[in-house]
Symmetry: C3
Subunit: 364 residues, 3 copies
Amino acid sequence: MKADKPTFPLNAWYAAAYDVELGRHLLPRTVCNQKIVMYRRLDGQAVALHDACWHRLLPLSQGRLQGDDVVCGYHGLVYNPEGQCVRMPSLQKINASACVRSFPLVEKHRFIWLWMGDPALADPALVPDMHWNDDPAWAGDGKLITVQCDYRLVIDNLMDLTHETYVHGSSIGNEAVVEAPFVVTHDAQFVTVTRWMDNIEAPPFWAAQILHARGYNGPVDRWQIIRFEAPATVTIDVGVAEAGSGAIPTKGQAGDRSQGVNGFVLNTITPETDGSCHYFWAFARNYCLGEQALTHQLREGVARIFREDEVVLEAQQQALRDHPDKQFHNLNIDAGAVRSRHLIDQMISKEAQTPAVIPIREVA
Amino acid sequence: MKADKPTFPLNAWYAAAYDVELGRHLLPRTVCNQKIVMYRRLDGQAVALHDACWHRLLPLSQGRLQGDDVVCGYHGLVYNPEGQCVRMPSLQKINASACVRSFPLVEKHRFIWLWMGDPALADPALVPDMHWNDDPAWAGDGKLITVQCDYRLVIDNLMDLTHETYVHGSSIGNEAVVEAPFVVTHDAQFVTVTRWMDNIEAPPFWAAQILHARGYNGPVDRWQIIRFEAPATVTIDVGVAEAGSGAIPTKGQAGDRSQGVNGFVLNTITPETDGSCHYFWAFARNYCLGEQALTHQLREGVARIFREDEVVLEAQQQALRDHPDKQFHNLNIDAGAVRSRHLIDQMISKEAQTPAVIPIREVA
Amino acid sequence: MKADKPTFPLNAWYAAAYDVELGRHLLPRTVCNQKIVMYRRLDGQAVALHDACWHRLLPLSQGRLQGDDVVCGYHGLVYNPEGQCVRMPSLQKINASACVRSFPLVEKHRFIWLWMGDPALADPALVPDMHWNDDPAWAGDGKLITVQCDYRLVIDNLMDLTHETYVHGSSIGNEAVVEAPFVVTHDAQFVTVTRWMDNIEAPPFWAAQILHARGYNGPVDRWQIIRFEAPATVTIDVGVAEAGSGAIPTKGQAGDRSQGVNGFVLNTITPETDGSCHYFWAFARNYCLGEQALTHQLREGVARIFREDEVVLEAQQQALRDHPDKQFHNLNIDAGAVRSRHLIDQMISKEAQTPAVIPIREVA
């Protein structure tokens, strides 16, 4: 599915793979409507090239690795990691224009990040903050799911957690989430939605966590601090502490979370096409760090919750196709999502004013 | 599939479900290109709403019932049977414009009928006549099949039964059907095709019926009196009687069918999309009323016959797609179908002149 | 898939079936975007008609044979082998314009050839030369595969056999193919690519053949003489001989192949739609003629090789769809393919200048 107008900015770092997905093999993946092939060089460095041979368009991912280079599986053209063709069949002299686009790449926080727009703007300092994903003070793991929906529907989903009550009633949702007030703040890059639930019964998931980690099974103070980083990353600071133990911040002063359990739901959503996305997520915790079984259990537990979202998100995308004349209506619970989409729209608009410098296809 | 110009009128009652399909659960169905969700209130009354939440378009059929209301499965908006939103998450005051379209509904003759056009015109007296379907003088049962073809191809099929000879040769067709003359009459709402076959060998289906009901196995007088009721209902008075026993009417005088067996093939075909339809049918008989096994046998026997039609109808629809430049040619056997389509076209034209009053989407 | 501009000429003979596929049954097949039904008359003569009834478009292939005629499976219209309707239901007088298009047909060299364009131009002398396929001096067999790609991608594939090294490395490819020089010649109808590989190690396939047929397992002289016959036939004269035994022609003098084994790869590729094709192939040899097991083994061995091509060809077609803005680049290995496409383009252009005489649909 290709939209009439851009649905995402190109000048941004997008997660294209988990680090462990790459190796000495050719991994094809569509990112931002582009066919990409990824692999690791002999020294382990990751490479991302346009997945279409310059000669006859066969996906390079159907070829094979030869040292640091890729050999096309049809006529044997060889490309180096920069995308330059370095061997042609039956030819001594190589056409200098023969190349495929190579994408700026950074490996950080366990993800392979690609810059899909103007390479001159590809500043590694702009990679989204997902440091919990490889910080020794945190333990966890995650997954990739490819969802048949516009990536912005996932952003909407994450920026309003009242849906937990209706979609995830058996694990993390209960009425307290809907009833609790929340505060939305933002700047040019981030949108934050903060919700504190004071002295409530913990939902099943958190009741189990605080019992396991701290032997506590009474009422809790619960928090959800959702942070959107434009254009497609959402980190959520979540947890519960013994009710009244001081976790709730007051007048600019940080709370004391020592009587609680804390996790970060890390999400970065990469457009695959205009109507589908690669949803990378992880759950990191700061308790019981050495328990591998708990890591396993949490990963599968969160995966179950995300599958509930997947059903809703794909139904919503289908509904958008079924009702091309319909628009979303917004409620005040959507304030975080509306603000996040506004930041995305600004990035897209900014690019629309300077499209000439972006080599959408190849640098040849 | 959505056509360029209307293929059906909206100001009409269409069967959306068999009565027994509805209950205390949410039934999604597409009717006339519209997503609909249906259910029964606590008092049993049937409800039909647009199957897309006002807020974010998630199908309401993915939510749940709460008393007489529907709760959206994403953010918990609650709609009453009139489609008005009566609860929003985290909000005391409800946006009065928050509603989904509710469809006029009549339950009659074992079907749930919806009015898809201007509610002001939804006169229950206009529900098509299918009274045989719950008349104690008749016994029978039916089914719903969803066929991948324009509903008008089914009308064509039913209005010319010479196809029985070629499509249903092993059950109800034989050469006599093709050879017998027929008469077509019509008014502004009905088209009738009458065919009498005088002193013929009964086809296998009818031979079995008259033998079972009356112990007779000789030649018969056979009749097929097809009645189209615009835009999408066809009832067919069918049967055989002992040859020469007086069943054939003469000079405006009704015949004596006492030495025969009589059935009604009841058909009402509801557009699902422009290229598919819900085909509701039943077979009612006026003999051996108490024999449940016969009802079962007839229902399955007729279902087998209709599956033969389904193959032809879907192949014909595919042929229409394959040959966008081709038109149907008409023979004199098509007189009933041509006249029926003419009535449909008149209804569509009439609506095209007054489109403003029809709330295709929602009343908000 | 229907292209915006013609991808193939219509005034040409295209193989529509292997001879053995036709019999006393109705065989539907799409050829050049046209629905066709084929069968044999009582005298064995093959017939090809447009597969859509004049009356209501039902595919005639869903009907049945009645002597030399076809009976439509919906309303019983009967067509003779010329496509003229000779019986209509309930009608004494037949509408003279009631007919379906009949296609000029020649059965030759084990294929059923259809002429899809102007019947007045259908000269049987123009049927492509595939005589090896039923010449008693040659033995072999073949298959039909329907490939989801433009037929011209198959032509490209066959006109440049350097791909053997990369696609068929385990059977017929090795480095020698890429390294050997080749010569391209052409006239208005044929393009020939000749490649001789002097004193090389035979690739696995040919090593097995010359060992089996001649007990020889040393170095060989290998040849590939590819001949394209516009618009869609490619015959390849292939083989190996004992190195230095005189097989290589010199100064216009034919070589002596008596110390070698010779095969012909026969290919004719018929557009099914603009994005798919019927690929008919056979492999004929002039050694060990009576060995039925060898025929079987070669047919299955070549089928395995062609399946490797099928994967590449369908991936290439998908890549063309994924990159509508991309064009092929040509290398000197593509000289034969480029020249062949040029002949195809000339045929298409010529037709575009005289389109009026071509009855694309029917002669009525």
